[in-house]
Symmetry: C2
DNA sequence: CCAAGGATAGAACGATCGTTCGAGTTCGCG
DNA sequence: CGCGAACTCGAACGATCGTTCTATCCTTGG
């Protein structure tokens, strides 16, 4: 179904794989060139340097995440429904672009200031979407904490952590896993019932 | 308060810093040697190779985590109290050994099979502690899910994710942050109240 | 059919990597 | 004091790193 890409795109495609597997410092230009069966200089024909390739990946796939999340919210009104849809869209995007998502949340201190900034910008954007939704829930009286940002971090922790353990090939059906995660989050955001 | 360590210990101490900041592939033996103001060969006097140094760090600090968690559980009976104590101990240990904890959950595929195994073993041990507690809660009728492992992953996600954003120097008091996180988790593990 | 420019390759650069070696220095203990 | 062990160092090895250069090939428009 995926038509095999050529030229520049094929490089990005393969680089995503290797960066996700070995990190930025752990992946050499030669690794990437060898994986596409082309020469080292060919990589430099398309990208100014190693970091430009990293940024191209961010451009290519990861930056689409905030848009997907916004799209999932577009037609929902009820705050609880909105958060559910947000988390579900986030989980689906993470599984669909598993390798890219892993890159997105790698903490690469070896990037240039520009590379770091690009990474942080995407992360911050996603965080703000979650904070916005939690504040909606608070306005609706469902969430009671004053620390909406901490709660957003906690939700993001659950969502992102599943990149570390979830494998689509496992015996559990994806849908069931998603429902467990969503249920966990939706219980957590509500204030504890008074009678307990 | 920390007496400055000598010889081998000083190397471990500094290596923890650099590995946590730059990852395994991103930290060179020369970096470490320079940071302690000694020679490269001196590092090799104490450690067979780079990975032995990594394993020494695991030995030195991270492997103590499961013991700390067990200790926090030792004198508690009530399942809810137990999970609260477990999470709190985990958070405290993570903050206290912030750099080591970051290393612990770095996904370093560049390690040898032996190094990977050591990392995974610690992670698995911690996971099993959480699964055990969640199954206690299930036996007590508080948790209702059948997927106790998924729930354990979710809890670990929240706990570990705070390494990514929490800074002890922030304006929020550590105690307050901990309480927010613990509250989040304790709400999430209970089944939703029937009337909602 | 030929010129131009994109695509590709191979060789080489200086830097840095993990690691080894041999030789000094210091230290503890008889 | 003497001697072996522990410690420390600088130099060097081969491998690999990111990057550059030059030269071909292939395609394509006039």
């Amino acid at each position: 179904m995926v038509e095999s890409p050529k030229g520049r795109d094929e490089l990005v495609e393969v680089a995503v794989d290797l960066f996700a597997k070995n990190g930025f410092a752990g992946t050499s230009i030669r690794d990437i060139a060898a994986a596409v069966g082309r020469s080292v200089s060919n990589v430099y024909h398309y990208f100014e340097n190693k970091e430009a390739l990293w940024l191209a990946i961010l451009e290519y796939s990861v930056k689409a995440l905030p848009e997907k999340l916004h799209a999932a919210l577009a037609d929902k009104q009820d705050p609880l429904e909105r958060l559910t849809a947000l988390v579900r869209a986030h989980l689906e995007a993470s599984v669909q672009h598993h390798r890219e998502s892993k890159i997105f949340f790698i903490d690469e201190e070896r990037l240039s200031p520009m590379g770091k900034r690009a990474n942080r910008r995407v992360q911050k954007e996603v965080l703000e979407i979650y904070v916005g939704e939690i504040e909606r829930l608070k306005a609706a009286g469902i969430v009671r904490t004053d620390e909406t940002k901490i709660m957003a971090f906690n939700v993001l922790g659950v969502v992102n952590w599943h990149l570390r353990w979830f494998r689509p090939v496992g015996k559990l059906k994806e849908e069931q896993v998603f429902n467990e995660i969503i249920g966990f989050i939706m219980r957590a955001v509500r204030e504890a019932p008074p009678g307990s």
